[in-house]
């Protein structure tokens, strides 16, 4: 509980940004038509690959002899990149299908 209060106090502004982002996420999606559910899911999945940024920072911040970190980090980068690149590419293919009129 104290921990939570502490976090609340230290990161007030970011909390505001978070609340805004949560509402924004809701609003953005709340009126999407059924046909777009799958491409949207797929697009959101690609975006969730942002976690790759963390993996890059991890590798950059580790010493070049720290093999455990390098291993975990580069594995994370590979997986994250697959998610990002594959995700956007698959979404694009799907949407291309829809676009044909």
């Amino acid at each position: 509980m104290n921990l939570i209060i502490e976090m609340l106090t230290n990161n007030l502004t970011i909390l505001f940004a978070l609340v805004m982002a949560i509402f924004l996420g809701f609003e953005l999606i709340s009126k999407v038509p059924t046909v777009l559910h799958t491409p949207l899911m797929s697009g959101a999945n690609a975006i969730s690959g942002v976690v790759i940024i963390g993996a890059i920072i991890l590798v950059r911040q580790s010493e070049s002899y720290n093999y455990v970190m390098l291993f975990l980090g580069s594995l994370a980068i590979v997986l994250g990149t697959i998610n990002v690149v594959g995700g956007h590419a698959v979404t694009n293919r799907m949407l291309q299908m829809f676009r044909k009129k």
């Binding site: 978070l18 999606i29 559910h37 799958t38 899911m41 942002v50 995700g87 590419a89 799907m94």
Partner: protein, 466 residues
């Protein structure tokens, strides 16, 4: 490499987040969706560039390792995405999502190792990292199981006994372990146990849900990956990860609810493993009669119709029959028969499933009728061909209050004159319930794999049309 000024970095941060928002916004409207995806990808590109170029406090950069990893990841992702069949889209998304979860898992475990090694444990950061680990792990194995279920390699029958109770207990154990570990982070062992528990939970949680509900589950797991990315963003004090992650988290949550609503079910019933997969055997079938139709008769009926409606369903996807549907359409249109497709919003196993498949087969967009249009058009329809659809044409949704799908809007094909149903046998659809349509006097069955049946019909049609 040159390091960026903080002001510039912040500016790019803002741009990147804005691009994500605009991307999501555009993804949710049919006309702009395609550009939305590209815009979001640009946001991601900028985010990655900043991560590569921004100044860091310690470490050796290791650009070589990063470059190789990025290259391999991008190549693999690109190739898989290019090769996958349209019908395999949902499982692909699930797989990709799992990899994202795994990425979160690996970086959190690495950071936790770091904390313990340097004995620098700030409780708030520690808790955040532990949660990222937990959620990433659940998203990881959960997505893999969902992938397996959709690909058909994981069977719906592989369920734990009392799965709901087991899952609850596991979840409670997980939460307690996290609380304990945050307060007494003395050893790393409990971290591994938490990870193992979370990985297990991902498996059992998804195993319990019916295979056909996987789209909903993927949406949830996707939201979870988003949240774990956001938590990792707190860890690295990176605003892009944080905000993009939260955006995905909240939009995933609302998308999940929208999907449930489109199926006329509650999220709880989906998670508790409601129907989907519990296939009730059609015991009462014996005493009722179905009429079969020969390929010959069926093609003559089609040939001399004015309006024909094709109702595609999950079976069309299974049989990969979309291209042959299109050929049938072309053949019929040649002899001046008017062909339309009636698309139910939840036909198939993912929203828009049928639209994607038919678009792949180059079916003209203007020939696809949505639920409302179709129900109007069906009044003037001579023959309706049901290609592997079942629940979405089940009339008990209209008139049997006892039916589990009562109240779901369906394609009312009995308004037309004749119905021909293409399926392999008498087994039920996704919801596992019987379909009185098959016993209706307007209905005739054409048994066999949908693709084969369609091919036979097409050949016969060509013969009689010449």
């Amino acid at each position: 490499m040159s390091s960026l000024s903080p002001a510039l970095i912040n500016l790019f941060y803002l741009i990147s987040v804005s691009l994500f928002i605009v991307g999501l916004q555009r993804l949710s409207s049919p006309k702009t969706a395609s550009s939305g995806n590209l815009i979001a990808a640009m946001g991601m590109g900028i985010g990655i560039l900043i991560a590569l170029l921004m100044p860091i406090s310690s470490g050796d950069n290791n650009y070589g390792v990063i470059a190789i990893a990025l290259f391999f990841g991008a190549a693999i992702g690109y190739v898989i995405a290019g090769r996958v069949l349209m019908t395999q889209m949902p499982e692909m998304v699930s797989l990709f999502n799992g990899l994202g979860g795994a990425c979160a898992l690996f970086i959190s475990i690495a950071e936790l190792l770091n904390f313990h090694e340097h004995n620098s444990i700030d409780p708030a950061t520690y808790l955040t990292t532990l949660l990222a680990l937990l959620i990433g792990s659940v998203a990881f194995t959960g997505s893999l199981v969902a992938y397996g279920k959709l690909a058909g390699s994981v069977k719906d029958s592989w369920k734990l006994p009392k799965a709901n109770i087991f899952n609850m207990a596991l979840l409670l154990a997980l939460i307690s372990a996290v609380i304990y570990q945050t307060q007494y982070p003395t050893s790393i062992e409990l971290v591994y146990i938490i990870m193992l528990f979370a990985l297990t939970y991902g498996v059992t949680f998804v195993l319990n849900v019916g295979g056909a509900d996987m789209p909903v589950i993927i949406s949830i797991l996707n939201a979870l990956t988003g949240v774990s990315a956001a938590l990792a963003g707190v860890m690295y004090d990176n605003k892009i990860m944080l905000l993009a992650g939260i955006l995905v988290g909240s939009s995933g949550a609302i998308l999940t609810l929208l999907m449930c609503r489109a199926m006329n079910r509650s999220l709880i019933s989906v998670l508790a493993g409601g129907f989907g997969g519990t296939s009730v055997s059609a015991v009462q079938v014996g005493d009722k009669m179905v009429k079969e139709v020969s390929v010959m008769d069926a093609s003559i009926m089609l040939r001399y119709s004015q309006n024909v409606v094709i109702v595609p369903g999950y079976g069309m996807a299974v049989a990969q029959a979309q291209k042959i549907c299109k050929e049938l359409e072309d053949q019929l249109e040649q002899v001046a028969v008017n062909v339309r497709y009636a698309i139910h919003p939840v036909a198939g196993r993912m929203p828009g499933h049928m639209n994607v498949l038919l678009a792949e087969a180059n079916v003209d967009y203007s020939k696809l009728l949505d639920l409302e249009e179709a129900n109007k058009f069906l009044k003037d329809t001579d023959v309706t061909i049901v290609v592997g659809a079942n629940d979405v044409v089940n009339p008990s949704a209209l008139d049997d209050p006892g039916s589990p799908i009562y109240g779901m809007p369906i394609l009312e094909i009995l308004q037309g004159k004749n119905v021909i149903v293409l399926k392999r046998g008498m087994s039920s659809g996704y919801s596992g319930i019987e379909n009185p349509l098959f016993f209706n006097e307007k209905t005739k069955m054409l048994f066999g794999d949908a693709k084969n049946s369609l091919i036979s019909l097409l050949e016969e049609l060509k013969v009689i049309s010449d």
